[in-house]
Symmetry: C2
C-alpha cells in the first residue's frame, strides 16, 4: 500500500534552492548558472551544482549557446514529479481521512 516513489526525482525537488530555480526557469523560460545566481542568495557555483543534479534526473535540458550554457525545464519530467507529489499527498490524505472516520465512529459508539 506504500506509494512507489522515485527517490532521486523526489529529492531533486526536495531542495528549496532547486525548487526556486525551477520556479525561475518556468517563469523566465530559460536561464544560465550566472543568470539564476543573480536572483538567488547563493553563488554561481552552488547553482551550477544544483543544475547538474536537476540535469541528472532529467528535470532540465541543456543547450550550449556560444560561451554560455542555457537550461530549460523538461515539461514531461516535471509533470512526473508533480504526479508523485500529488500521489504521496493523496495517499497520506486518504489515511488521515480513514483515521478521522474511525475516530468519529468510536465517538459515536461511545455517545450511545
Amino acid at each position: 500500500m506504500t506509494v512507489a516513489v522515485d527517490d532521486d526525482l523526489w529529492s531533486a525537488v526536495g531542495d528549496p534552492t532547486r525548487r526556486r530555480m525551477l520556479d525561475l526557469l518556468l517563469t523566465e523560460g530559460e536561464g544560465t548558472a550566472t543568470s539564476l545566481s543573480e536572483r538567488l542568495p547563493v553563488t554561481r557555483q552552488a547553482v551550477a551544482k544544483h543544475l547538474a543534479v536537476l540535469d541528472r534526473v532529467g528535470l532540465v535540458r541543456v543547450t550550449p549557446v556560444g560561451r554560455e550554457v542555457r537550461y530549460r525545464v523538461d515539461d514531461a519530467q516535471l509533470a512526473r514529479a508533480v504526479a508523485q507529489l500529488s500521489e504521496v499527498g493523496s495517499a497520506w490524505d486518504a489515511r488521515l481521512r480513514r483515521i478521522k472516520r474511525m475516530a468519529e465512529a468510536i465517538q459515536r459508539s461511545q455517545e450511545r
Copy 2:
C-alpha cells in the same frame, strides 16, 4: 507568484526514510525507535535521529511510557504538509498548462 513553503516542513518529508516512517506510524497507529527500525533498513539510532527531526517540525508527538518512548503522527501537521505538497504541485501544474497553451497558440498562429 512563488508559493510560500515551510522549508523545514518540506525537507522533513523530503527524506525517503522519514516518509516510510510516517507511513508506518500512520498504518500502525504508533511506534518506537526500536519497533520502527525493525521494519526499516536502517539502525535504531538512525531512526531515532529521524524521529527527532520529525518531532522538531511537529509531525510526530512523543509519549514516554515506562522505559519506552512512543511516537504518533500529528494529524494536523501532516495535513499541513500534504497541503504544501499539493500547493507546489498545482502551482507547477498551472505553469506547465500555461506554457502548453502558449505553445499551442503559437502553433495555431503559424498554421494559418
